[in-house]
Each structure stands twice: as structure tokens, then as C-alpha cells.
Amino acid sequence: MKRLLPLLLLAAGGIGASIPPAAVAAENKSMVVVGPADFASAAPPSETARTAHVARFELDVLPVTNAQFLQFVRQHPEWRRDRVSALFADENYLAHWAAPDTLADAVQARQPVVNLSWFAADAYCAARGARLPRWYEWELTAAADATHPDTRADEQWRQRILNWYSNPSAGPLAAVGKDAPNYYGVRDLHGLIWEWVEDFNSLLVGADNREQGGADKLEFCGAGSLSLEQKENYAVLMRVAMLSSLQARFTTKNLGFRCARDAVETKP
């Protein structure tokens, strides 16, 4: 082990000078592997392809907290709320913090970070050598309960999730880790916050814009014609609709994120 340690430190240092080795070590434990899977999505890839292929990937067990995002903001001051560019975040960006580099209290530290834009979430994940999860990755992982990979046909499960969706903003946010790990070991996918995905602006772009009639309809060709499946899976459809209504600089008080990355292929 003594011999291994310098090697491990070296390896960690190679990922990026700004990431302390301890953070890398901690991060390793905080992601789990999901997939590969072929998955019947509520928002299928196209009119003809009803199944989405999800390659093996790693996903954060927990949403990113205020404390974690504060650390990022201190290392990347261009993401402070008093310095962030108007192109990348609206005026409510991190509005719940006490100051641009101070949280309101210790309780907030463990709450998932919200009030942040797609650009900010994207930059956080990139600084970690990761990326935002894609919609199909998120949807696949969120279809699981504690013991089954796909529990979407379970009406009670659907109702439980829907109860939260119908009243998501009541009271202060709970700390992350509120829910037990699901089948994949991922927590808090439902019932805590909405989450950004990398391809939020690809959702509801369903039908084919080559078949539009009038020229003035072209701008709306993608967004206007949605093709959704599983109408009974109302909770997921609500999430698709919410995400597709966003612009990348928008922030809301219950929209946060977690990071993902392509799984490292292990050679046999």
C-alpha cells in the first residue's frame, strides 16, 4: 500500500491541478456505474426508433450540494453571483446564499444547490473532469426503485413520485441523501429537486422538420410536434415538459444537478 500511495497521488494529480487528490478520492466513491441498457424512453429517439441505447456511464450518487458548489465558486470566481456573466445566468443565480462566497447557514451546506443555470452546472462538472448526465441516462436511472431496475409499471410507485411533483416547493429543501439508494445505488432522483441534463434542449424535438408545410412554421417544427410515449408515466412527462421549457441561463429555486461521465472501459 505504501508503494501504491505515491502512484495514486500521481494519478490524481494528472486529472487536473485544480482538483485536490482528496477530492478525487472522495469523488470516486460518490459515483456508481449504470448501464449499458436498451431502454424504452418516454421521449423516444425518433418516430421509428422507440428504444434508446444508453452506453455504460457513471453517475453521482447524490445531487451536488451548496457546500460543494461554494468550493467550486471559490476556485472559479467567474461563477460568483456578483461576477457571473448575464449570458450564462439570470438574476436569481445563487440568490439563496448569504453572500457571493458565503452560505446562509450550516443547514444549507448539505442541501442540494439550486438557483443555478445550465451553464454553471456544466462548468462545475467540467471542472471535475465530468459532464452533466444526458436525459436518457437520467431517465434510465430514475426508473429504478430500491430493488428493481425498471419499476415504471408499478402504479403505487408512480403515484408516490407524482405526489411530490404536484407539490415540490413546500418547505425548505431536505439535505441530500434523504432517500435510500436505488437499484443502481443512486439517491434523491425523485422527491428532492429537478435536475439539469446536458441535452435539455433536445427534449420535445420529436417530429421531422423536413415535412413542414408553411415556411413560417419552420422555427417551431421541433418544439411544436412532440412525440411522447407512456402517457401513464405522468411524472416523467412532467419532467420532460419542465426541462424543455427552460433556457440555459434560467435558474429556479428547485432546479439543481448532479454530474456523470462516460464509464472507463475495463479491459478483460
Partner: protein, 190 residues
């Protein structure tokens, strides 16, 4: 010796110019030129998104194998240009950025430029990587989706940037010139 000094001076000047361009603090906080992405144009020339900084720019996203909507976008841009007086047209630049970072090589873009008879003195057809596509689409409010067959569904818009890269207008009128867009182009060129 004199040549050396001149060269050194030029190098210093270049560095100063480069720094001025690279510092986001000098840009309007709404300027799209804050986006860090590499464009490669139809000639293989690499630049930033701010390649036309200082000129009014029409920017749209497309992909070269797109059968209908994208040629229509290019034709709309050409009609828009044609409707301008020569002085305004001379100032305007056109930047078409591909959604298809995998397929659209400089060669393909050059072929399309020839086929559509675009004026490459003032137009650029360019590609960037997948992350660049996502970010540019995000700031322009363009929604897009790669289909399993390699085609894209996407919303179509023609966007006007002022000389500092600030988005002045987004027009969804495709197939015909948009009078409101012509008016705005004249204003930012004035």
C-alpha cells in the same frame, strides 16, 4: 538588428491584441463572444466565435446533409443580403455553424459553400466540437436532436449579433425576408 527589433515589436503588439480579445472583462456581459469554442471554417481556418467581431453578424445553425430546412435557411440569408443596400451589405457578415460535429468536415462545408454559391469573402461555414455545438445552441435558444439515422431535428432561426456579439434579434421567418430583421440590420450597421 533593426528587423529583429521590428519583429519583436510586432510580437508584443500581437500579444497585446491577443490579450485584449481574450479578456472577457472587455466584453458586454450579454456578448456571445464570451463563449469559448473553436470554429473551423470551410478553408480549414481555425478561429473563435468572435471571428467577425467588430462587424454585424447573422448567425444560424445548420448541417450540410440537411435536405430541406438548411438550404432554405441559406437561401433566406442570401435573400436578406440581397434586400440590403450595398454599404450595409458590405458590413454584414454571415456565420453558419454546423450542428453535426461528426460529419461536417471543412471539405464538406467547402462543397456546400460552392453548391449554394455563398460569398466566402463575407460568409463562413464552420464546424465546432459537440460541446461547442451544445453551448452555441444554448445561447441562441436553438433546440436540436440527433436522430438515430444521423439526421437532426432542430429549430431554425436567423440571429443578428451587433458589433460586440450581443444578440439583437432572433428571426424565425425562414423562406422569405423578415422586414423587422432588415430594419435591425440597418440600425446596427449605421
Amino acid at each position: 538588428m533593426k528587423t529583429k527589433c521590428t519583429l519583436r515589436l510586432m510580437l508584443v503588439c500581437c500579444l497585446i491584441v491577443f490579450q485584449t480579445v481574450a479578456t472577457p472583462a472587455n466584453l458586454d456581459s450579454h456578448s456571445l463572444y464570451q463563449l469559448e469554442l473553436d470554429l473551423t471554417d470551410q478553408d480549414g481556418t481555425v478561429s473563435g466565435l468572435d471571428v467577425f467581431k467588430g462587424q454585424p453578424v447573422l448567425i444560424a445553425m445548420f448541417y450540410s446533409s440537411c435536405p430541406y430546412a438548411c438550404p432554405l435557411t441559406i437561401q433566406t440569408l442570401q435573400k436578406t443580403e440581397a434586400a440590403l443596400d450595398p454599404r450595409t451589405r458590405g458590413q454584414l457578415r454571415v456565420l453558419l455553424v454546423s450542428l453535426d460535429s461528426e460529419q461536417d468536415t471543412p471539405d464538406k462545408l467547402a462543397e456546400l459553400a460552392r453548391h449554394q454559391k455563398v460569398d466566402t469573402a463575407r460568409w463562413k461555414l464552420a464546424r465546432t466540437d459537440a460541446a461547442g455545438v451544445r453551448k452555441l445552441a444554448a445561447v441562441l435558444g436553438i433546440r436540436f436532436k440527433r436522430l438515430p439515422d444521423g439526421e437532426f431535428n432542430h429549430s431554425t432561426s436567423i440571429n443578428l449579433l451587433d458589433r460586440d456579439g450581443v444578440q439583437i434579434m432572433s428571426s424565425g421567418r425562414v423562406g422569405e425576408t423578415d422586414p423587422a430583421l432588415l430594419e435591425k440590420i440597418k440600425r446596427v450597421s449605421g
